[in-house]
């Protein structure tokens, strides 16, 4: 039966191309390679980061190739479409074959072809054809084969088939792949990509209020099939929009309902690690008779009207802080209380001009791991430094330093300090000013000491008293010498107030010849320390401490620590110290909102894929044939079989089948 030599139509050629295994493998490998690039090159970062990393030229190249958002690039989409096409063509071409394999028993098989199979055997028997046929049929049934019989001119064929579901495994896996691709295409956000391409929407790049975002960057609920966005809600706040990040900009997606955050909670393990993040949400929707209240947490999202609401992050939602501003470099011991919320800013009038105070963040807990020694003492692996806040102080020219202040004194080496970290750029770590806490755990003594040193009249009086006390009787009458010493004392104090010991060191380096610098420095330090100590004693007296007796260890240590702190104020950069006096914590919860209508289609595809894989690997598809042919008064039996899955295993099974068959038919 010769087929007419038909010319290949164009369709045949296309099908041939798309259905080829080489194309399929090529696509699989190409997708794998593209995916590798997408994981090695961090995706969707700000463009500036890429320019710094790769330089402008390569940045341009990579951007054009879509390497910054590979999984959303059109060529990647094209690869996936090719995969779907290729798989579809395979299904189109192979499904009929598979279905035929499942149904047809190939009863027209020739004896010759059976003898050519690798698993084959012939033998003769005295038994009659009918009897053998019954025995064999029953035997094969017991072995799980379905059988068919057909009579031919001079022989009879018995064909058996087992595990035909193996063949449907092929269909299940490949259809599964297409189904899951369709599901994920629905959810891939390609609708937005197309809208952007056709100019229907343009992402917003300015940092403006959501209600000011123009229409071209806004999406109505029905405008997008799927999306993934997020919104940060402060406690008590509500929103009916969500932001979608698009490269270096964003879109505003409107929701058909509003989400209100009633409360946000963080729970901790005893070790201090966060244990859970929970948001109590209230959904306001015209479709609801009354608002829907639901708590979401990590791993427990709320699914509402096809939208999924996830607990994603948290932060400060504008806590109200009461800050006490202590002036530095001033004799006045006057504080100013400032009420300000996180993310707000206000002007700050100081002796040194106008500054701007910008409060960036507030943290309720600051948990740090304990050192081995601390662990031994406290028995705990973590310690909590309590609340802190970060802020910037910006001068008139716009230059800002960043600060990180703790509310409560922190214990270090059994001493208590108010810590204030400072840095000029984000890249560097905070350098901490350690202000010692006094015996009432407050800042009062330190600030009083500081003010006293800046009070020219009182400081001078103390200087005069100390000079008098220090001078020998002979010199006591020498008024000029006394005044000189007092003046140099005050000069040193001024230098010290400005920049600590290093200011004095610089002064010596500038004014004193090199060979005398060490001597002069020693003398200066002695003079200055005399003044500082006497000032401190005066301060203690003022507090009512009996200084005639021995000064306590605590007061001694305080003096040392205060002097070190004074030395650091010069480089502190802010004209005030901001103490966190009180706060009203208001948290915000970062909620991710997504819409993935293709999700269940995707899962269906996955399920088909898994079922198909198990069918293909763990159902063994086997066929066997027997040809019964009367020959010279005997019955000639030719037995052959084939298994598609595993030749080795089948060979063993065939051996058993054959030896059984020989036994029962002989």
């Amino acid at each position: 039966m010769n087929k007419p030599n038909k010319k290949h139509s164009r369709l045949d050629i296309i099908l041939e191309f798309f259905g080829s295994m080489n194309l399929a493998i090529t696509i699989l490998v190409a997708i794998a390679f593209a995916s590798v690039i997408g994981t090695v090159l961090q995706q969707n970062q700000p463009y500036n980061d890429y320019i710094i990393k790769f330089g402008p030229f390569w940045h341009e190249v990579f951007q054009t190739l879509g390497l910054y958002n590979i999984y959303g690039a059109l060529w990647f989409l094209a690869l996936l479409i090719f995969l779907v096409l290729s798989t579809s063509v395979c299904i189109y071409r192979n499904t009929p074959i598979m279905l035929r394999d499942m149904q047809q028993f190939r009863l027209n098989v020739k004896e010759k072809s059976l003898r050519l199979m690798s698993n084959t055997q012939s033998w003769t028997t005295e038994k009659k054809a009918e009897e053998v046929e019954k025995i064999i049929q029953h035997f094969l049934k017991l072995k799980g084969f379905r059988t068919r019989i057909k009579d031919h001119e001079d022989h009879r064929v018995i064909a058996g088939m087992k595990g035909r579901w193996n063949r449907s495994g092929y269909i299940f896996t490949h259809v599964g792949i297409i189904v899951l691709c369709i599901g994920s295409f629905l959810d891939g956000g390609f609708g937005l990509t197309i809208k952007e391409w056709t100019g229907q929407i343009i992402p917003e790049t300015r940092d403006i209020r959501a209600d000011k975002v123009p229409k071209i960057s806004r999406l109505k609920p029905q405008d997008s099939i799927s999306f993934r966005g997020s919104i940060s809600l402060p406690e008590g706040g509500s929103s009916n929009i969500v932001f979608l990040n698009v490269r270096d900009g964003y879109l505003v997606q409107e929701l058909p309902f509003a989400i209100e955050l009633k409360d946000f909670r963080v729970e901790h393990y005893t070790s201090g690690m966060p244990k859970s993040f929970e948001s109590d949400l209230i959904i306001h929707d015209d479709q609801l008779d009354e608002p829907l209240e639901q708590t979401i947490s990590v791993n427990h999202p709320l699914i509402y009207r096809g939208y999924a609401l996830y607990q994603a992050s948290f932060g400060d939602g504008g806590s109200n802080l009461t800050l006490r501003a202590w002036p530095f470099h001033s004799q006045k011991l006057q504080t100013l209380d400032i009420d300000i919320a996180v993310k707000e800013n206000r002007s700050l009038n100081t002796l040194f001009g106008k500054y701007r105070l910008e409060v960036d963040d507030f943290k309720m807990f600051n948990i740090f791991p304990n050192t081995e020694e601390e662990k031994a003492v406290t028995g705990k692996r973590f310690k909590n430094f309590g609340p802190s806040f970060t802020f910037k102080v910006r001068d008139a020219s716009g230059v800002a330093n960043e600060y990180h202040n703790y509310m409560l004194p922190v214990t270090q080496d059994k001493r208590r300090f108010y810590l204030s970290g400072m840095r000029s750029t984000v890249a560097e770590p905070f350098r901490y000013l350690h202000i010692p806490a006094d015996n009432k755990d407050s800042l009062d003594r330190f600030m009083a000491f500081h003010a006293l040193l800046h009070d020219p009249i009182r400081a001078k009086r103390i200087a005069q008293d100390s000079v008098k006390a220090a001078m020998s009787d002979v010199n006591k009458t020498d008024k000029k010498l006394q005044d000189d010493v007092v003046n140099s004392m005050m000069n040193l104090l001024t230098l010290f107030n400005q920049g600590g010991y290093s200011a004095i060191e610089r002064d010596i380096k500038n004014k004193v010849p090199k060979d005398k610098q060490v001597d002069v420095a020693q003398a200066y330090v002695k003079i200055l320390q005399n003044l500082l100590q006497n000032t401190y004693i005066a301060l203690l007296k003022q507090e009512g401490v009996e200084t005639e007796k021995d000064v306590s260890d605590f007061d001694n240590q305080f003096y040392e620590d205060a002097i070190s702190a004074f030395a650091g104020i010069g480089a502190y950069g802010s004209p005030v110290y901001l103490q966190l006096a009180d706060f009203k914590h208001r948290e915000s919860s970062g909620i991710q909102i997504t819409r993935h209508p293709g999700q269940n289609i995707f899962y269906l595809g996955c399920l088909m894929l898994i079922i198909g894989i198990f069918m293909m690997f763990y159902i063994s598809y086997q066929r066997i044939w027997l040809i019964l042919k009367p020959e010279n008064g005997q019955l000639m039996i030719t037995f052959a079989g084939s298994g598609n899955r595993n030749q080795r295993d089948f060979a063993v099974e065939f051996e058993q089948l054959k030896s059984h068959a020989v036994k029962i038919t002989s």
Partner: protein
């Protein structure tokens, strides 16, 4: 007309359930009873899914024990010794230091150390067997591999209890960090190997497979002693989910099977070269036939692929609950896809194109490196959502 019975009673196998003996049924009853006991005692700590996982696991274990008989004994010993250790603990974690049995044998860490030592010794024994052909050494190697596997499981199960002794809210199944899953990797790979060893009745692949387990043990010990990784830590919120109980083990059946296939691939390549150089040589004679190794390699990759597919889908479903979408192109997800695509291509080449021989063996070996990167490399070099096992 009925078929005469005498024709049929020639060695016909009875149906599966009739082949089960009394031990099989006792084994099944014990497992069911154990799960009911666990349910009664701990149902307060489980949600509906976890109850489902508990009984699903019991049924799966029964099936495994029925199909592969040595597993019944393994499970029995693991259960008895774990319960013994847990009982020794009582409610006091300090017992790990005070009690002899816990300190030297069955505390989570001690058992893991025994597992490590036994695996390394088994590797040596398998190599001795491979070179000398001494059957007794081979039996010892197999016995040590079984013992190591038992110790690994005991270590994990006792550790599970230990997490709860750290605090009722700290307790979790010990498959939550790199230290714990490396134990899981070693014992699952060993189990798959033991299955094939019995099925194909050869021990000469053991040296190769145990080599990859020893490598995992080396990492585990380094991780333990250098990084203090054995410390029990509470779970971050993202990991507090029943999904972890099924996603992670399914993944490690995949990883274990792929690793095994790669090591068989190495053996295949060595044999391939040896046969070409000197067909009568010792190497060619000692290693199993190419045909058989090709078969084991294929079966192992098929097994790994099936379970890896399940694990990845489970991971996607978990991601849909925890990360806001079943697929985010997170590095871990993406690398899982790459591994999947790689083995999908491998299987297509073998099953559809009929490719055989050294090319597939090389491919399986390369596949191990891809798998290794997805397993450990992603955590080391790439940042993403799935950063639970950092070095």
């Amino acid at each position: 007309m009925s078929v005469p019975n005498e024709y049929m009673n020639v060695e016909m196998q009875p149906p599966f359930y009739k082949q089960l003996n009394i031990v099989d049924w006792i084994f099944a009853i014990l497992l069911i009873a154990g799960s009911i006991f666990a349910f009664q005692k701990y149902s307060g700590l489980m949600d509906g899914y976890e109850v489902g996982i508990l009984f699903g696991t019991a049924i799966s274990l029964i099936a495994i024990g029925w199909v592969w008989k040595p597993m019944r004994a393994l499970m029995f010993y693991i259960a008895v010794l774990s319960l013994f250790a847990i009982n020794l603990y009582g409610n006091d974690l300090a017992a790990a230091e005070n009690n002899f049995f816990l300190k030297f044998l069955f505390s989570g860490q001690s058992a893991t150390m025994w597992m490590s030592a036994l695996f390394v010794m088994a590797t040596v024994a398998y190599f001795v067997e491979l070179f000398s052909g001494n059957a007794f050494t081979g039996k010892v190697a197999t016995a040590m591999t079984w013992a190591a596997t038992a110790m690994g499981f005991i270590g994990l199960l006792v550790r599970w209890r230990e997490t709860y002794l750290h605090g009722i809210d700290v307790g979790h199944i010990p498959v939550s960090n790199l230290y714990e899953v490396f134990i899981l990797f070693a014992i699952i790979t060993a189990l798959i190997y033991l299955y094939y060893e019995k099925k194909y009745e050869t021990r000469s692949m053991g040296a190769f497979v145990l080599l990859v387990i020893t490598a995992a043990i080396a990492f585990l010990l380094w991780y333990h002693f250098e990084r203090d990784a054995a410390e029990i830590k509470p779970l971050v919120p993202a990991l507090q989910s029943y999904w972890m109980k099924i996603h992670v083990p399914a993944n490690f059946v995949g990883y274990g099977a792929f690793a095994l296939a790669a090591m068989i691939g190495v053996a295949y390549l060595i044999k391939d070269v040896a046969v070409k150089r000197n067909p009568q040589g010792r190497v060619a004679a000692r290693l199993p036939s190419l045909d058989m190794m090709d078969d084991v390699m294929h079966k192992s990759i098929a097994l790994g692929f099936a379970f890896f597919t399940i694990a990845t889908v489970l991971g996607a479903m978990w991601a849909a609950e925890a990360w806001g979408g079943y697929w985010s192109w997170d590095p871990k997800e993406t690398w899982a896809l790459i591994v999947w695509l790689n083995y999908a291509a491998w299987l297509h080449m073998r099953l559809m194109k009929g490719l055989r021989g050294p090319v597939l063996a090389w491919w399986a070996v390369i596949g191990l490196f891809v798998t290794l990167f997805a397993f450990v490399g992603v955590n080391m070099f790439l940042s993403g959502l799935h950063s639970y096992g950092e070095l």
